[in-house]
Symmetry: C2
Subunit: 183 residues, 2 copies
Amino acid sequence: MALAHAIMTALIDDDLSGYELAKSFDVSLGFFWRASHQQIYQELRKLAERGLLRGEKVSQSGKPNKIIYGLTEEGREALAQWVYDSSRMQEAKDDMLVKLYNLGDDNISHMVSEIEKRRDEMMQRLYLYERIRRTHYAKPDVLPVRRQGVYLALRCGITGGEQFLAWCDEALKRLAQIQSAQA
Amino acid sequence: MALAHAIMTALIDDDLSGYELAKSFDVSLGFFWRASHQQIYQELRKLAERGLLRGEKVSQSGKPNKIIYGLTEEGREALAQWVYDSSRMQEAKDDMLVKLYNLGDDNISHMVSEIEKRRDEMMQRLYLYERIRRTHYAKPDVLPVRRQGVYLALRCGITGGEQFLAWCDEALKRLAQIQSAQA
DNA sequence: AAACTATGTGCAAGTATTTGCATATATTTT
DNA sequence: AAAATATATGCAAATACTTGCACATAGTTT
């Protein structure tokens, strides 16, 4: 039920087309809630049908036409209300962790490379977070309230990412030990 | 596609009924991949149909009958093969983080209590992790390889949980500051 | 006696998400 | 000139997951 709310959230400040929204997702809310463009387009249409968004067709020359979506009053109210809904702790749902339950002499080197790959990806993600933090949140205390909320979400991503890197190092060390004992 | 593999993983050592499996999930793999009992029963039947599990009906007196599932050779092979499949980084998909993007003077006290609730839940989770660690993984180095993999997953849960607690404290501190500035 | 807890499995309906494909045009690169 | 990239939206099918309900028995608590 929450991709809808993530999308509405992305439209708080600006009206966007599906394409623009998908791009903005990639560098902000998508850090915490990934969605494919198909899902976004579908959800936008559904939300417009339900009256929570208003879609305006824009004809363009030189580019394909697009539909700009914006929150309706009803949408803003629904979103504000949603914040008070109770939400649950999310599990990691990460294949990698399930795979670790299957660790064996045969697949250990595969797990090493999988963890190394994750480590690299997270490293890149952290560079991106850090750039965003420096650029937009250098002095969080002086930001308006809502921006401070976004900052806190970013901090959650940063500290979570740093912890993950540390775990990767721990795991790789242990796996290397097992491998050297094997030889 | 991975609940299937989580279930098969839970059956590596022991054959279990759906009920037993659901319970074992609650204190192990379910930390990383939660599933309702309905989903588990469905998946067990599907896996049995596909020949990856063998289901054996057991009549019981005094208790309802049950079906004990175990991995077939084919299942074991499929599981072993699955470990080599590539897997992707998972996003948090956490409502709470999306809600933070909607932070405002009106809902700030709600967010405080939501974060406090999460903090409590994680604290309890960490107690449980710690008990498991002490009981079963006090000396990880001497464990067989597969158990060391499980230990690494547990460590991921522990360090991730500790990071989350620290983040909660940071967030609560900031929210308290905003609230006191408001007054 | 009634209520609650534990054991044990399942259907049906709805919602969410992924995967693969399809269609266009304009600009930039090879 | 061909190929790749960016812009822009969508359908259809399959898979995954959640929610609410239903049945059935035994033991324990109030």
